[in-house]
Amino acid sequence: MSWGSAQDFFAMGGYAVYVWGSYAVATVCIAAELWFLRLRRRTLKQALSRKNGDRG
C-alpha cells in the first residue's frame, strides 16, 4: 500500500485532476449508457402495451 492517508490517496501525488478526471468521466459515460438503455426499454415496453391495449 503506497498511501499514508486518505488525503494522500485523493491527492494522487499531485495528479488528482488528471487521474480522477479520467475515472470520473468514464463513470459518467457508463452510468449514462445504462440509464439511456433503461429509459429506452421502458419507452418501448409502454408503446408495446399501448399497442396491445388498442387491439384488445
Binding site: M1, S2, W3, F9, M12, G13, G14, Y15, V17, Y18, V19, G21, S22, Y23, V25, A26, C29, I30, E33, L34, L37, R40, R41, L44, K45, A47, L48, S49, K51, N52, G53
Partner: protein, 246 residues
C-alpha cells in the same frame, strides 16, 4: 447431442437468452472492475518515472483495446449479415456500435488527461491519436448513416458496408506506433516478448480489460433486446410479451 446454434440466430429465441445472460455479465463486470481498481490503486506501486499519473493506464489501455476489438466484432457481424442475410447479425452490429464509440471516447479522453502531465500537451496529431480519433468518427458515421436511412434493411446494409471499409483503420491504429514515429509510446504488452511493466500493474490492467469485456457483452445484449423489441414489435411473440407485461 448436437446443439443447434442456428436456433439462436432468430431474434425470438435469442431475446430471452440475452435477457438471462446480461445480468451475469454485468455482475461479473462489476466484480472484476472492483478487483482491478483495488489492484490498480492499492497494490500496484508508484511508477518511478511518472509518479501516480500512470494510474490512468488501468482505464486507458482497456478502453483503447475495447474500442478496437468491438469495432472488429461489429465488422464481423456486418460481414456475416451481408453474406448470409441474417437479421440478428445486423442487430448485433448495431447494438455494439454505441458502446464501441463510448470506449473510444474514454480512450481519447483519458489519453488527453494522461498526455498533459507526461508529454506536456493534451493532444498531438500523431498517427496513433489521429487514427483513434478516426475510429470515433467511424462509429459515429456508422450510427448516423443507419439512422439516416428509413428502410431498416437498406440501413443495415449501407451501414454494414461502411463498417467493413472502415475496418482497415483498426490495424492502422494498432501498428501506428511501429509504422510511424509517434509521440505515443509503443505497446507495453505483446504476445512475443515479456511485458515492460511491473507484474502487479500488468495484472491490474488485464483484470480491468476483462471487466470492460464483460461490460461490453452485457450492454450489447441489453441493447440487442431493445432493438429486437423495436423492430419486431408487430411479430406475434413480441405482442404476447406486451400482453404479459401489461
Amino acid at each position: 447431442m448436437r446443439l443447434n446454434l442456428w436456433k439462436y440466430a432468430s431474434p425470438q429465441s435469442f431475446y430471452p437468452v440475452a435477457g438471462k445472460l446480461s445480468p451475469w455479465f454485468l455482475g461479473l463486470a462489476a466484480v472484476l472492475a472492483a478487483i482491478g481498481l483495488y489492484i490498480g490503486f492499492f497494490v500496484a506501486p508508484t511508477d518511478f518515472q511518472q509518479g501516480e499519473s500512470y494510474r490512468i493506464i488501468f482505464l486507458h489501455v482497456p478502453a483503447a483495446w475495447m474500442s478496437m476489438f468491438i469495432y472488429l466484432v461489429m465488422a464481423f457481424w456486418c460481414a456475416i449479415g451481408l453474406a448470409l442475410n441474417t437479421r440478428l447479425s445486423f442487430m448485433m452490429a448495431l447494438a455494439l456500435a454505441p458502446t464501441g464509440a463510448m470506449f473510444t471516447f474514454i480512450a481519447l479522453w483519458s489519453g488527453a488527461l494522461w498526455g498533459k502531465p507526461t508529454w506536456g500537451t493534451w493532444w498531438v496529431w500523431d498517427a496513433r491519436l489521429t487514427s483513434e480519433l478516426i475510429l470515433l468518427f467511424l462509429y459515429i458515421g456508422f450510427l448516423s448513416l443507419h439512422a439516416a436511412i428509413d428502410d431498416v434493411r437498406r440501413a443495415d446494409r449501407a451501414a454494414a458496408l461502411l463498417a467493413l471499409v472502415g475496418a482497415v483503420n483498426v490495424p492502422i491504429i494498432y501498428f501506428s506506433v511501429q509504422w510511424w514515429s509517434t509521440l505515443h509510446q509503443g505497446a507495453s504488452v505483446s504476445l512475443t516478448r515479456a511485458p515492460s511493466m511491473a507484474a502487479t500493474m500488468l495484472v491490474g490492467m488485464l483484470i480491468m480489460s476483462l471487466a470492460a469485456w464483460m461490460y461490453a457483452i452485457a450492454i450489447s445484449l441489453l441493447r440487442l433486446r431493445n432493438i429486437v423489441l423495436e423492430r419486431e414489435s408487430d411479430a406475434d411473440w413480441v405482442r404476447e410479451l406486451g400482453k404479459a407485461a401489461a
